[in-house]
Amino acid sequence: MRGTTLSLCAMLWLPVASPAQEATERFGSGDTSFLLRSTTDIAIIRPVIETFAAARPDLTITYEQWGSNALFGQSRTECRSGIPEADAIFSSAVQQMVWLVNAACAAPYRSAATLALPETRRWRDELWGITTEPAVIAYNKAAFDGEKVPRSRFALLDAIRTDPETFRDKIATYDIAASGLGYLFAFSDSLEATTFGALLESFERVDAVATCCSAEIIEGVAEGRYLVAYNVLGSYIASAERPEVGMILPEDYTLVLSRAYMIPKNARQKSTATALLEFLLTAEAQALLSQVGLVSTMDTAETGLTPSDRRTIALSPALLVALDGNRRRLLLNFWEDTFHPSR
């Protein structure tokens, strides 16, 4: 079964009730079976896995695509039982991965390649950030033709304030109650600056749309239904291949997500899992990931973004706060008040 037909929505952290995978694909036909569970769409990551499978003909790699909540639940259960099925887990819901590592569900591994990672992209030598994906502002190129594109949150705020009617019903962002990734970005935003509150207020004034699913948002921007989409994962825009959609890395700060890779404690194919980790960190794999948009170079010359403006969502225990029930409820209430004040 090919995963291309799947909605990009499936990659996001949705409160999916089903505890099972959404798609499965096998690579290679070797004697050793290796199970990789991931939240990344098979269609996007296929070239990378294929290259690894070609280098390791002894393996039969089973790639399971999961929703992040389901994957989290499953991994937690397997961790408690002590018998993990997955040999490696690769998820964009990094706060859940941090939770798993904190709960002693991961196996440690050290090598020159992992130690070369910046500290924000590894924790305890049990969790490693593989990709580099900025949260961007997507915009409809035609709508801003000749006009000044807002290059930062302040510019966006000013634009909305000056001309609210243009933007009414034309701003989209993730529904954080429905999208785990949206929640993670909103949470990170709420930590970064007070801009977040002002932004939400502006969104409220122009009746911004909170919706699920990157694909839907990108589609909307491409068709001109939305002028601007806030906090969209850049990698999805790159892989959506919609030339009508422009991408802004906000110049005040740009959140950068690094999908996290983890090897469950007691994994059966630990050595293969570390081999895959080593492979993912090679220049070759990083180049492949870059081609599919999962690694953004964010070149300073191209984007005008200085390194200090990049806020990599650090793999650290501070992310546990994002999972805290009280805290989550507060943020959601705030969000609800903004987008559904009438309710």
């Binding site: 904190n102 709960a103 002693a104 501070a318 805290d324």
Partner: protein
Amino acid sequence: MPRPRDLATRVLVAVLTILLLGGLLVAASTWWNGRQAARQAYDRILIGAANDIAESIRIQDGAPLVVLPVSAFELLAQAPDDRIFYSVTGPDGTRITGLDASLGIDGRARGEAGFFDADLNNEPARFVQVDRRFVERDFSGTVQVTVGQTLRARRAMTTDLMLDALWPMALAGLALMLIAWAVVRRALRPLDAITDDLARRDPYDLTAMPIADLPRELQVMLGAVNRFMARLDGQLEAMRNLISDTAHQLRTPVAAIRVQAEAAVDESSPDLRSRALDRLLLRTRSLGTLLDQLLSRALVVHRTDSAPRVPVDLREIALEVAERDDHALLAPGVALSLEIGEDPVMVRADAFSLGEAARNLLANALRHGEPPIAIGTERRGPEAVLWVRDSGPGPEPSVMARLGERFNRTSGSGENSAGIGLSIVRAVASAFDGRMDMTRDDTGFRIALVFRAEEDHP
């Protein structure tokens, strides 16, 4: 029997043991200190985070609500690789929020200031529990905040602190060891030299070992050994002399006695036999005197080596010798005068040896000198003198030069030679660090024993 270890090894092993024990103590103490320091440092972080969380609790709609502060977790991330636990519970133990409801961290073990140790996911961890009391209109009670952290950073810090402290100490220990080795080697070098010397020494070699450059303790020891060897040497020498003297001195008279005895036996005429017997008797008597002298000399030589030296008044010696009747036997009718003063003339010596010497001097004067004869003592500055004087001219210069040597019994000196007698005198003089003086003047010939005077003895 196992081979005894050498001194250097013993000392080095002792030094090494002391250093090792010291090093272990120091290591244990720095480990303990490091552990305490790390514990304090990270306990502060822990309680800081717990207070941070406690501060963030507010009452909303009659229930406590925790706005979990990221700062608390950033504080905990000071231990970047440690796992974290937190939970907030209400008054009746209900869970308000927390990391993982399935982790039952038992706070009952909480000790001083709310800290306690427990396992977190099978890893040892440190916890703190902080209480916050609320007395509000719609909520009152105590909310407990529990925060915990595994010990990785603490251990790393303990190790770091310990290693930081131990590195220089280990280097210092090594330096001390090298210095100790060098010092011990250096201190024991003279001993090695002596050991070598002794190992190579001929067992019959009784000469003194050089002690000039040795440490004091070794000088004392070797000095004793040297003195012992010198005495042994002296005794051996004396024994050899006695045997050789006796053999030498007795051979001729005994041969003469045998010849005369044979002559007497062969003599048929009673008159001649009687004369031969008289001569035999004379010879025998002379032999007796000679034997006496030989034994006396051996005794003197022995005593000078072994008898303790005590203060002796030379006047008493002179008096005793003068009052004995020996001289009357040797030379009846000869006038003997005693010339001694009022004050004692003290020396430190052996009274018997001095008596023998004086007796021989007197006998010598009686036998060879001319009357009148005098014996006396005097104190001459730092010297004490015991002398015998006769009125004759004394022996010829050629004889005088050899007087007192051991073998000067020339064929012409006759049976009652002064040879052995004066050799006794000379032996006594040298035994007590004195000398024998011979002077000739108008009044006659005088032989004196001169010693260093002992201060007056009470």
